[in-house]
Amino acid sequence: MQVPAPFEYARATSLEHALELLAGHGEDARIIAGGHSLLPMMKLRLVRPELVIDINDCADLDHIVEDGDTLRIGALTRHAALLASDTIARLVPMITDAERVIADPVVRNRGTIGGSLCQADPGEDLSTVCDAMSSTVVIRGRDGERTVPMGDFHRGPYETAVEPDEILTEIRIPLRPGAGSAYEKVERRVGDWAIAAAGVAVWMRNGTIDDVGIGLTAVGLDDGLATAAQDAVRGREPDEDLYAEAGKLAAEQCDPVDDQRGSATYKRHLTAELTTRALRRAVERARAARTA
């Protein structure tokens, strides 16, 4: 088996301790939580930190809290916990949908939402979810805390706004009335990255879609949101024609590439189809939540 290059290991006893360790090493240190993004890269020697800082003991980073009109998810929250959470299923079922098809059940015991977001693989699902939900992330450095909207969090493939001496601590998802959401993904096989995926959130009012977030995965959408599709949907009454239109616009806006997962043409079509399905289901859920 391939193994990492040598490094030092430190276990942070608290977030402050982790930041202190980071400050001493900057670019040469990496945070490890679940390790299922970082360690594979280190085994292939694509990444060679001198110091690995284990933050798994920072319990204050592991939480799912409905805090008024904000859902606060600690960065250290495991995929398995998100999947099992009734709160999540009730408030943001798109996360539950996504978690069902993220990696596999064993990896989900360890991988964290923070780790996934910070790895920023173009195929990463929770980034799309957070985009569609207009989330903000909380980033802590030695100097304090800053909140960053998801749009600014993305810097490109494998790049985020988290500086080398900072730690992502929390994801904040605004909770608004009339919400419904869904995630639709096609993969070649369980555990694979998405060929394409769509995450849609709607907020309904008086039978129309008051607001909408449409995120796409693995199809080259630079800033993460299918804005043309969103604009077309916002303020409209939902029906099959609207769903199809949203899908069409999302497909036009994305920019997939030919690769082993599929042809660009196919991925574009898939984007349309999955956007349509996710929007349809998000609306159904919003309606069901209202009548529940």
Partner: protein, 803 residues
Amino acid sequence: MTTAPEQERPIGFGRLKRKEDPRFIRGQGNYVDDIVLPGMLHGAILRSPVAHARIVSVDTSEAAAHPKVRAVITGADLEPLNLAWMPTLSSDTQSVLATDKVRFQGQEVAFVVADDRYAARDALELIRVEYDILDPVIDPHHALDEGAPVIRDDLEGKTDNHIFDWESGDADACDRVFAGADVVVIQDMVYPRVHPAPLETCGAVADYDQVTGKLTLYETTQAPHAHRTLYAIVAGIPEHKIRVISPDIGGGFGGKVGIYPGYVCAVVGSIVTGKPVKWVEDRSENLISTAFARDYHMTGEIAATSDGTILAVRTKVLADHGAHNGTAQPTKYPAGFFHVFTGSYDLQAAHCKVTGVYTNKAPGGVAYACSFRVTEAVYLVERMVDVLAAELDMDPAELRMRNLIQPDQFPYTTKTGWEYDSGDYPTTLRKALDLAGYEDLRREQAERRERRVRTSEASGGGPGVREPLMGIGVGFFTEAVGAGPRRHMDILGLGMADSSEVRVHPTGKAVVRLSVQTQGQGHETTFAQIVSEELGIPPEDIDVVHGDTDQTPFGLGTYGSRSTPVSGAAVAITSRKVRDKARSIAAGMLEVSADDLEWEKGRFFVKGDPDSARTIADIAMAAHGAADLPDGMEGSLEAITTYNPPNLTYPFGAYVCVVDIDPTTGETKVRRFVAVDDCGTRINPMIIEGQVHGGLADGVGMALMEIIDFDEFGNCLGGSFMDYLMPTAMEVPDWETDFTVTPSPHHPIGAKGVGESATVGSPPVIMNAVVDALSVHGVRHIDMPATPSKVWEAIHTATADER
């Protein structure tokens, strides 16, 4: 140790829980990487990152200076020892460590030996190699172009990338039949490059004793004896000084048949350092450099009458062998047993031509349960039959039923020279169709198609029709396994016979020593059952010894489903020899003539007098005892047989598969798979079922997701399990299996072997189902793997594959 109360387990054939399980379920298996020897060092291989390049320089000085490194070996070091190159199983040569050029991405360039496995990996990064990149040959269709780069310039006089041409059948007869046929259909198809990918990678621990000159080599090998002989020839170590031990092997599937450079490097490393050296490859090494499977580019043609009598099949094949011809198959058959492509049908004529070429990819071709290219052959004919059925607008099950070889035609000689031993094909096909509820399935399919048309019309050009596309695939295969008669079949001059020894101890327990090598097939159980069936000794009282060349007789090992046909026969005959001797001894004990004795499993008694019975245990004690034995008889109860099979055996089967395809995403779900197999006499139904299940999962993998692909530069795109996808429990259905039994007339217990049947038979059946589903869109053929993208593209391409 009994695993069940005595009365619950068979003595002989039947459902017997496995004797080898107790150690595995405790994590006490002994695989190569579990082996630890005192002072053992660890090896790692530096591999070429490029597909084709001249080696300008190799600088190992920094690696050698690493404090934990004990040796660094390059091709230049091996050359003066005549070890830089080694023979392949196809009488070609392959680099152990590259000297002049690298010829595929992943080729071995240097070997480090270090104190631990982590340091060995670190040391690899310290070796500097300068490459002068050359244009690679990646597409086999261009390998023989004028001006194509010559890959094997190491071969004297070689000016192209051609390896062989090989033909079988009667081309003229085919021409005549095709010319006069009502219907001729032609279809190109590819059996893509795939990989056996057992979960345990390949590896070895080499322990060369400098004082005794003895080499003990623990290896992941399916053929320990063949390896021993080959090492003796190649490495110049006297054969009696080599001991090859296959410990427990975590899956082989034909990927652990050949000698890989890593094994040779481990041996050299041990000789050079004076310590045991362990080398175990990582997964990427396994996928990019060890024996791949298939890569056959085929054009099939089938000729028939308009009412559905199949007249002839012919095919041309371009075989991509990679940079060295390393296929493991009998010497006279460079395309293995591909000429069994005549399939299960009574044909008037057949012909095939196979052209093998070099490309800048890893060597291999024969692996992954192919039975020496029978996978390719069966795929070709079973897809052609379906293409014909579509052309004739005839039900594919009916078309097969009309053309199967009939029971009274056996033994049946095919138009390419095989003599099928036995079979009742129509009964097996009928059974599969009944088990599947075939007529109901077709009815359901018709209803769904009608609903689809109605929905499409009703929505008047709206969003894509969502009704899943249901496909039903049928297939019938005849395998050719159990190689083979030594005058026809040898590997590097070693005839494909296998031996066994059976010895009964004084207290009536026994040991059987085999020359074949289990990698999960349950030999410790099934071979005990064969002895048990013949001698009546309980299976738990029979020790099965295998895998150690010091403790077992010579044979060619396990692959091509040959263990039961060849070694099983050897064991049965050996046991009968023991029984015959026991009869004579019993006759002496009972003071009667041998003819006056009757045998009832486990004991001889005087005819009409059951109380006179002498058990095998009694007889064994008497054999070793002090009393007189019959004249000329020696005081032991054992025998040895080397079995030269008179023919191959021909297991067969009928399979039915149901798939549902989402037309808007291209995703294929295998809803059901029905398999009826006939492997002749059944030794252990539980183990047979397990072998079939495993092969069916292989079929799902190859049909839907497995492929080793390359980009135009020769970069291997299937070098990890993130890219080389295999089915999990979610992608396969609950298998529905049944069986028929037509014993092999020439095999002592009538058994035919089954290990590869399902891997051979299932891929075309699944693809037949996929094409059947897509036929409403005019699709006639789609190549494996039928990924969602490919399926969707097939549906939406303006013209379906029409050739």
